[in-house]
Symmetry: C2
Subunit: 119 residues, 2 copies
DNA sequence: TCGATACCTGCACAGGTACGCAGCTATGCA
DNA sequence: TGCATAGCTGCGTACCTGTGCAGGTATCGA
């Protein structure tokens, strides 16, 4: 089976059959990008700390997150805006307090896996 | 239990007890950074494609990876250098061909999980 | 109504990172 | 000994992103 795109079909391969396997393993480009974006959201220590806190503690207010992580309020707010735009978290307004929680299942699994080896 | 560091102990909390829970959930800063770095390596589509290919297909040469991903050789080489420095992959020289494979178990689990919903 | 609190937004700056190009080293073959 | 191939490195550029500051909006209590 020839999975190599036409624009690079003339290039020499070392293990020709493995190249096709590799292309099949990579799969759809959009799928890869989706996962890369997902990982990207977890790639920042501050954001990861926010998510770990939200994951294990449940609904948390912005200023509480700021105290727990040592960030200042706008930084937390911006990080949450990013996560909210990506559909990872959601916030529920209660008076003047907004409590956030994780809603994306895939991200929740990653966080669970990440928090597993936490002493 | 007071887990809030002294430099921010005077700040007002919304749900005081949850702040302590959150700090406990976040855990050691080094641990968070380690995971953030791990996720960071998977956060680039090209790098993720390389790792997916290596994960499922096994030892692969640099130029084969270049063909499979559509990158040019130096780009693949640089990405692999990064991954090798992080201890995620390793390369074995066989004549003038170097075949890479994934060696980090945590990363392998993430890749497995990521490739699970691949049509 | 006045002030304080909780949160959000826009902007500008610094830092990091991916990418392409050119050139280098090393191995295998004739 | 030439010559092509496989892979690596350095450099420069463009881009993205995290962060802090200043200011704005909405809600609650006095």
């Amino acid at each position: 089976m020839h999975l190599v795109p036409a624009d690079r079909a003339d290039r020499r391969t070392i293990d020709g059959h493995r190249v096709c396997d590799a292309i099949a393993a990579i799969g759809d480009e959009a799928h890869v990008r989706t996962w890369a974006d997902r990982f990207s959201l977890l790639a920042d220590p501050k954001r990861l700390a926010l998510l770990l806190a939200l994951h294990r503690t449940g609904p948390l207010a912005v200023s509480d997150l700021a105290i727990a992580t040592g960030m200042n309020d706008p930084a937390v707010s911006q990080a949450l805006r990013l996560l909210r735009a990506a559909g990872v978290v959601t916030g529920e307004k209660e008076g003047r307090v907004v409590r956030y929680r994780v809603i994306d299942e895939e991200t929740r699994l990653l966080l669970k896996h990440c928090a597993a080896d936490n002493p």
